[in-house]
Symmetry: C2
Subunit: 203 residues, 2 copies
């Protein structure tokens, strides 16, 4: 086997991810990606069949990181015995990381992908759906444990974290202020606390 191509492949993905999140997929040319990655057209098409294949690979890798974030939140709160408290602290985990999330990326790759129908119908959106489903499944478990009589569908409430994430990303882009991520996650957490505290005969 010749030199390790995986290194260059990752460099291409790194450059592409940043450019796509910043400018969108269609607005990012392969020449831009190649230049930013410091490589060549030959190298690019050795690793990816087409530009659409790049989008797929990009999203696959991003989903992996996203699911790792989900696991990180679950792990960080695994020791909390009270289910309602764990759910709140789970949300607070991301609230506490809100500022560093926004300093690491100015937006979310999902938004760039979902914006373009060619990517949605291409199957790239299916990868995102699997990530959303994983978040929903795990959080719904926490919700059901926290309250059996909540006046809210557990799945819908679970989805609201994704909704808050993505909505906050867009709000940050709109105003140019990254603090909305932390603030909006905080809004969700406090609303959640109020709903849980209303539960009959708790504590």
């Amino acid at each position: 086997m010749p030199r390790d191509g995986a290194v260059n492949r990752e460099r291409i993905l790194d450059a592409a991810e940043q450019l796509v999140i910043e400018n969108g997929f269609a607005a990012t040319s392969l020449d831009q990606v190649i230049k930013a990655a410091g490589t060549s057209k030959g190298a690019f098409f050795h690793h990816f069949d087409s530009k659409l294949a790049l989008a797929r690979a990009l999203t696959e890798r991003y989903v992996e990181g996203d699911l790792a974030q989900l696991q990180a939140g679950l792990d960080a709160t695994a020791a909390i015995a009270d289910p309602a408290e764990r759910l709140v602290e789970f949300v607070r985990f991301y609230e506490d990381h809100g500022d560093e999330i926004m300093s690491a990326q100015s937006s979310c790759l999902y938004i760039a992908v979902l914006t373009e129908q060619q990517l949605v119908s291409n199957g790239t959106a299916d990868l995102i759906e699997r990530a959303v489903t994983a978040w929903r499944r795990e959080i719904a478990v926490l919700v059901r444990a926290a309250s059996e009589s909540l006046d809210l569908d557990a799945d819908a409430l679970a989805d609201h974290l994704f909704v808050t994430f993505e909505g906050a990303f867009l709000l940050c882009r709109t105003t140019g202020s990254p603090e909305h991520m932390r603030v909006q996650l905080g809004v969700f957490r406090r609303l959640l606390e109020a709903a849980l505290r209303l539960e009959p005969a708790r504590g």
Copy 2:
């Protein structure tokens, strides 16, 4: 004065809005827009200086409609005396319209615009910011009237409606199911009700 060009201009905007919301701005070519609008290149560049100018005009018109929606919600709840109840019913107004919002458009133009840095830095995002600010200002008034001692920043809570709207649009695109809009607005409304009911010494 010759024939009324405003009609054709609107047709171009209609076609462009649909295509841009569906496919993104950079992924939409002028030839597509022209064909969908049933007009010509000459007509297009008679009405718009450039493709970026189209984005600006598109966003301007969309913001107008957005602000009309804001006003519709305010008007529909203007007669409700109790401030907390009015705030809740204000959110429910959009919840009730969730399904028709999603049948009229598969996503939001704001998302397509905010995805591309060329549009954000171009000043088009400023138009969106003005819309967001208007929503925030009006809703914050309702929030402050509804509760003077809420454990939440009124502006941040007001922003959460925009966050829920945009996040729900993306969730709908991810799963292909339009009902998330109504459902997520419902989640926000119920969480809001819980937070308001917790307020000390209310009814």
